[in-house]
Amino acid sequence: MMPPEDPTQERWPDEPPRPAWHEPAPPPVPPLLDDPSGPMVRPYVMTSGRLEPARGKFDLITLVVAAIPEPDGQLGLGPEHLAILRLTQQVMSVAELTGHLDLPIATVRVMLGDLLDQGLISMQEPEPEADMHDIRLYKAVIDGLRAL
């Protein structure tokens, strides 16, 4: 971890190299481990650095439901994976999961891919845009809105 007073933290990355009279220059630190990017680290670690889910696309409104009863923590899963399995005992969208877990969408997607890969969740993808010509869909939505 860099000391907070380190001057390299204040510099633009595309600035010219530090002049020789400004010695001694501190050793460079790896990106993503310094203080300013702190909030990035935790979600990134939770997914073991993965950015894309192993399986599935997981649209914001893809509906997810657990395929198993509420787990007791014996599955070798992390706390966030277990939290998803608890939340998805009721059918829930990817967007709702991110809201309840307070995690970024990309992080939740990766964890959902893990659970899908292990057969622990089922999902229902939304209708593709090209298939939005089913008049029953529109009538059901209008009826649902009128019933509010």
């Binding site: 657990a66 229902q124 809105l145 009128r146």
Partner: protein
């Protein structure tokens, strides 16, 4: 896309299908209010963390040291019988987060562009976006308390909208008003997609 293997829950029941409507418009125009008015649950917030690389280059002045940006979207849910669940997404306030708009607009039934007549220009980017994308949309002018009603034809002209884009007044705090906006949007979307030969409901 329905995957036969993965579309049933633990009890073998078929999962409902989710659909969505986008609520767009300028900052502070009432998007979150409208989402909250019709949602059956407390509106939730979904967030995406961005690095500088994904953000418009013109917009980092003053926050030069900021390495990440969080884009937030508020959304609500309405359960429709057993088969469908409707989600309403308020778009991120800043137009520079277009990639989030793309994600939200993809597969949307349609969009409501909320407008405030005191700052009509704020809704131009939303109108442009949905016009270009071909998403069916209507313009709803949110009437804040004490504000006089404007002539809808003038607003239509000011926004340079074609005659086929409905413009209506609304009150984002009123359930009845929001219901009417959303129902009119669905009727408009049906018409745009060639599903409703009968004339648009007034």
């Amino acid at each position: 896309m329905v995957s036969g293997l993965s579309s049933r829950g633990a009890d073998g029941r078929r999962l409902p299908t989710a659909v969505k409507i986008v609520i767009a418009g300028g900052f502070g125009v009432g998007k979150t209010t409208m989402v909250g008015t019709v949602s059956e649950t407390r509106p939730l917030r979904t967030e995406e963390v961005l690095t500088d690389e994904s953000v418009g280059v013109d917009d980092v002045s003053g926050v030069e040291r900021k390495k990440t940006t969080t884009v937030a979207m508020d959304f609500g849910r309405i359960t429709m019988r057993d088969e469908y669940v409707l989600y309403l997404f308020g778009t991120p306030g800043q137009e520079r987060f277009w990639f989030m708009w793309d994600e939200v607009a993809l597969g949307a039934l349609g969009a409501v562009v909320l407008a405030d007549t005191r700052r009509l220009a704020d809704c131009f980017p939303s109108v442009d976006y949905f016009e270009r994308r071909g998403t069916p949309f209507i313009v709803a002018v949110n009437c804040f308390e004490g504000e006089q009603a404007f002539d809808l034809a003038e607003i239509q002209t000011a926004l340079n909208l074609g005659p086929n884009v409905p413009v209506m007044l609304c009150d984002a705090r009123s359930l009845e008003s929001c219901k009417k906006v959303l129902i009119d949007l669905i009727l408009h979307a049906m018409k745009v997609r060639g599903l409703a030969p009968e004339p648009q409901q007034a």
